[in-house]
Symmetry: C2
Subunit: 454 residues, 2 copies
């Protein structure tokens, strides 16, 4: 058995390993980035200099200008803007909310959800009905919901190892809660922040009104606020909740994806995209979400140039606009590719935070995934063990229609939802080495994609 | 080839998997800890309530009392103190240091190294000679070093993936720099903080005087301070450096390891230890180093009880005293085991921070390591891929003389040396989920060690 294992092991290794030069190049990539990367400084500029950059805002335009100039300075072969129309939602004055429990008035932190309408100027105050899911709400029926504020209080499941899976299991409340509550005559919807952290930071995020339902205002409440409200309701089911918000959806605005490219030397018509999204929520500096993905993507191209690698294929860094509340950048980029008959063989996105790398999720056929498997031994020494079928990325998603293979960079995401869509998603929350290791992992993958195709 | 791979893959899986019940139990362990663990709250008590706890200090005694009471409250079968004499070094008043560059006086952050003598009460001021290593220092010779302050300025190598390897490559300056400089007649030794982070936090840590060398005071300077000093020396080689510190080594003090245990049901005489160290540096709350390891170890035993697991062997949580500047607890524990003819089959230590888990290092024979390999498929779903030969832990090290197999818990350590031995090693730097995942990983390993032995 041992001999068989050994023989098989050697054989497998020989079959899997690409040229030993690959291993040397990948080590050079990590050395270059860990030793010389400007990506952390770029992130400082984007988060502290540019700051929040919700689609349609002055910050978003500043981010477009900043990233275009940065890529031009890097001397990439081509840097260009790709126009898209984006939604323009504004929060207005800071929200106010409190629990009125008898004579006691307790202020709680809320944040309007992106896309929500405002309350009446004087705010809305109503009794509260707490539910954990839509079925429970429907079972209550219009009679019990009418005139109330519906409080969606199902927590993210902390026992799931994969925090994105836990997020997916709770985020329907944020996305569709207002529509479900509005249908039954509610006057507002308050949603527990989608995070496992217990704190005072309300987590905003996108929501959408279903067609034909009455529009009611909706906001996220911090997890501590949600616990307090739930506890207070147990003591006094007749308490009321007050909130006031001033948000507004304005007409669409012209904005841009920002693209930088290194031309391929052998097959320039085959394109490999690496990207992140440039927009952030208005409350956040957007350091993990997704300044990290942006600077990492630019760093991939800088490193290729710095090491004198001449890619066979064209490598493009794309800063997508409007991932957070519309995905217009992702959709617009795919449209652009189609119009120009461009052939995208692969797209890599980093949008799960600037954390220490774990691997890549792949969206493609089983055969395409199988082509990646021989690279695993080259990536394992860098902690990239988690390589297999898995999500790609929202912005690159629309490229799948052309048969482009999608790769979602997978960092360790245990901390991600502590920061997600809040004021604490700041530069200070990103570790320099973790950010750089992510960039190096993405560069290594792009290098292999360029070398061997799919 | 594909068929062979498949057949072999199935065969290998069948051979490797232990009972499917193990997989269920391990999932239960993670669910219990991610859902119900008090370990983060314990860490808050230890860091914020007890606070800094350098060996010999009142804080250390408070930590002993706190952990004994905590384990008693958990209802473990036995909780006891194991006496050890520990060094008692005190920092005294906060250090003062500045660069005197012509008329310009620039204050820089320093921290006396643990074990160092004080300067004269008025401090010491002298010209500075910068070196990168001991060979460079020796090549300069006594003539050029005499009367000077030696400035050791070799950075940790940021290009190494393994931060502990990079640490090992720089820490000789801290441990032995004063002796090497003292031998050549220097009047002080200033050491660049052992971290890749660029900031204003001096990192203290242990140092030792070689026998027979003149004792000179030594301190760590922050990395920003080191860069400034180096730059200033390039501009003006004749500048002077001033520092004053008031530290002192007092007589040894009585202290304790704190031990909690669950008695084995079948082989109570076989002991499995899981531990961390209870002492911290005086500047730090000791959250990552090593409050995390302590609360995780207690959590292992709590979880075993909570799940109704009846271990075959005796499981012990050990809070070791004095890892930072003496290792008396680790040595004393091994002495105690010897005196009592105890049989320790395995020891697990967590002392690389409360970060997201990556695996375990094993110190044992190749055959012992081979016995662990079949467990890998049980641990891989939890991100534990890095299992193989590797360091165990300082405190459990002395048990190796009895043939005890040592396991060093390996979290992801990219951030570890940002915090290490500084004032920012605080509760706030530890993430709840990452801490808990570490505790769950350790519990899973201890469970398997108990089930199958070695």
């Amino acid at each position: 058995m041992k001999k068989l294992l050994l023989a098989f092991g050697l054989f497998a290794t020989a079959a899997q390993a690409k040229s030993p030069a690959d291993s040397v190049t990948i080590r050079k990539i990590y050395t270059e980035i860990l030793g010389n990367s400007p990506s952390y400084e770029w992130l400082r500029q984007l988060t502290k200099g540019v700051g929040p950059r919700l689609s349609g805002s002055a910050g978003a335009q500043k981010a477009v200008d900043w990233s275009k100039q940065l890529m031009e300075k890097q001397g990439f072969d081509r840097v260009f803007l790709q126009e898209v129309m984006v939604p323009h939602w504004v929060r207005g004055a800071k929200e106010v909310a409190y629990i009125q429990n008898g004579k006691q008035k307790i202020t709680v932190p809320i944040a309007a959800l992106g896309g929500s309408i405002a309350t009446a100027p004087k705010g809305v105050e109503a009794p509260v009905i707490e539910v954990k899911n839509f079925q429970e709400l429907r079972d209550l029926g219009a009679e019990k919901v009418k005139g109330k504020i519906v409080f969606f209080n199902r927590p993210m499941d902390p026992t799931k190892l994969n925090t994105f899976e836990a997020y997916a299991g709770a985020v329907d409340q944020r996305g569709n809660g207002a529509s479900e509550a509005g249908k039954l005559g509610a006057v507002g919807a308050i949603v527990r922040s989608v995070t496992t952290a217990m704190d005072d930071n309300p987590h905003t995020g996108g929501m959408r009104y279903a067609t034909g339902v009455p529009l009611i205002p909706t906001a996220a409440i911090s997890t501590n606020g949600a616990e307090l409200l739930s506890k207070s309701l147990k003591e006094n089911a007749n308490l009321t909740f007050y909130f006031k918000q001033n948000c507004e959806m304005l007409p669409d605005v012209k904005s841009y994806n920002v693209v930088g490219e290194i031309k391929g030397s052998e097959k320039p018509e085959e394109i490999i995209v690496v990207g992140g999204h440039l927009d952030s929520w208005d409350l956040a500096e957007g350091a993990h979400d997704d300044g990290s993905g942006c600077v990492q993507s630019i760093e991939v191209l800088r490193t290729i140039k710095a090491l004198g690698i001449k890619p066979k294929r064209t490598i493009r860094a794309v800063m997508f606009m409007n991932e957070e509340n519309g995905l217009r950048g992702g959709v617009g980029y795919a449209d652009y590719a189609k119009k120009n008959n461009e052939k995208h063989i692969a797209a890599v996105e980093s949008d799960e935070g600037g954390f220490t790398p774990r691997g890549f999720g792949i969206v493609g056929t089983a055969e395409q995934r199988a082509k990646v498997m021989p690279w695993k031994p080259l990536l394992a020494p860098y902690g990239l063990h988690d390589i297999g079928a898995g999500p790609g990325g929202a912005d690159i998603g629309p490229l799948a229609q052309f048969g482009t293979v999608l790769f979602g960079f997978k960092p360790d995401t245990q901390r991600y939802f502590d920061f997600h869509h809040t004021g604490i998603d700041r530069f200070e929350g990103v570790n320099k080495r973790e950010l750089e290791l992510g960039a190096a992992s993405m560069t290594a993958l792009v290098y292999l994609l360029d070398q061997y195709g799919l």
